[in-house]
């Protein structure tokens, strides 16, 4: 599938694909520098994306290592149907889902042993809150979204990827993407009504 739009418009999509194919070939020949280059080129972006998906925890070293370890194992089988970056985004989404799922399980277990019921966060608007608190609330709202809404929101508004790339990463149709984005917006609008109205 031809890459029609990359985040970096300086590099044409076909050049990127050729470059990726060369890197994969190099890696398959046993040239370790190919993987180094892939990590160097994508690690920052992937780390930021993972950070956003996981609700801005700050420290994403473990998950980044998991992502690139999966890439290292799967790179030999990579068929270059899409760019390496798109492929890495897909891996990131899957790993973040697994990570969050594990975290949820751990949290549930912790709460069960503590015998406490989590209190719902107070999302009432506070006119006097500072900017920091405002953005914290925004991030919490994004974090509170279910993965199927949070992922399109992050890809669309934070990573600013085009729709055709998002549908490829998420493996869904364009219509489904639009539906998810609409629902996500509605939820955010509901949660952050005062902020948006302002």
């Amino acid at each position: 599938m031809a890459e029609t739009s990359e985040k970096t418009p300086d590099n044409p999509a076909n050049i990127n694909i050729i470059n990726d194919k060369l890197l994969v070939k190099q890696f398959n020949r046993g040239d370790d520098s190919a993987f180094d280059r892939i990590v160097e080129e994508n690690s920052a972006e992937i780390a930021a994306f993972a950070n956003q998906l996981l609700g801005w925890p700050g420290d994403v070293d473990d998950i980044i290592q998991d992502i690139f370890f999966a890439a290292f194992l799967g790179l030999k089988k990579f068929r270059c149907d899409c760019s390496i970056k798109t492929w890495l985004f897909t891996i990131t989404i899957n790993k973040c889902r697994t990570y969050r799922h594990k975290q949820m399980l751990r949290l549930k277990l912790l709460l069960k042993t503590a015998g406490q019921i989590p209190l719902a966060s107070n999302r009432a608007a506070d006119k006097t809150m500072t900017d920091k608190e405002t953005f914290n609330r925004v991030r919490r709202a994004v974090k509170a979204l279910p993965p199927k809404y949070r992922e399109p929101v992050v890809l669309k508004y934070l990573q600013e990827l085009p729709a055709d790339k998002i549908v490829k990463i998420l493996g869904i149709s364009k219509n489904a993407l639009q539906v998810r984005l609409n629902r996500a917006r509605q939820r955010l609008k509901k949660d952050l009504a005062e902020l948006i109205e302002d």
């Binding site: 990590v39 956003q52 070293d61 290592q65 370890f69 609008k189 948006i196």
Partner: protein, 194 residues
């Protein structure tokens, strides 16, 4: 419009988020180490499993063989006992057969001897026959002397001699009849019969 607001708000919130820790510089090295460990586990795990299975199988075989050996030994012992018993039975049967054959042989020998014994003539009977024969010949000669040669005295002496020497025989009785016939009335010798 709302979409734009949401987008702006999200981007501002993202920028205002706590600084993300920079990606570890040794990320590739860490990934390679992890891949190496995985490769090692991928190789070592099946080898270890195979070795463990081999050891278990070997131990099982050894145990089975020991049990089998014991079973074989017991079986051999029982078979040997059976063979011994069969030997004893065979010996007894052979002994019995030999005894029966010996008896049959002795019986045959006895039958043969009895047949042979039966075939041997009685000597007393022979002597008796010879005595009868001698007495008859003497009577016959006396008859001839009296009838053909007309020697009456010699004939009487011969008859008397027969009666004296062979008194128990049929010829002695005949001689006695001849003598009484000669003394009473001379008989027609030709009518006399022995």
């Amino acid at each position: 419009m709302t979409e734009e607001k949401i987008k702006n708000l999200l981007q501002k919130a993202d920028k205002a988020a706590p600084a993300q820790t920079p990606v570890c510089s040794s990320l590739t090295a860490a990934v390679r180490r992890r891949a190496g460990r995985r490769r090692f586990v991928n190789i070592a795990a099946p080898v270890a499993t195979a070795a463990a299975l081999l050891i278990i199988f070997g131990a099982w075989r050894l145990a089975a063989r020991t049990t089998q050996t014991k079973q074989h030994q017991n079986k051999i012992a029982s078979l040997q006992a059976e063979i011994k018993e069969l030997h004893a039975r065979t010996d007894a049967a052979l002994k019995l057969i030999q005894e029966v054959l010996e008896n049959q042989r002795q019986q045959r020998r006895l039958d043969e001897l009895q047949t042979q014994l039966a075939a041997i003539p009685d000597p007393l009977e022979e002597i008796r026959k010879q005595v009868d024969k001698t007495a008859f010949i003497l009577v016959y000669q006396a008859d001839r002397m009296y009838r053909e040669l007309n020697q009456k005295d010699s004939a009487i002496r011969a008859y008397n001699r027969v009666m004296e020497l062979f008194p128990q025989t049929q010829s002695a009785k005949v001689a006695e009849q001849r003598l009484s016939q000669i003394q009473n009335n001379p008989p027609n010798i030709k009518e006399l019969k022995i």
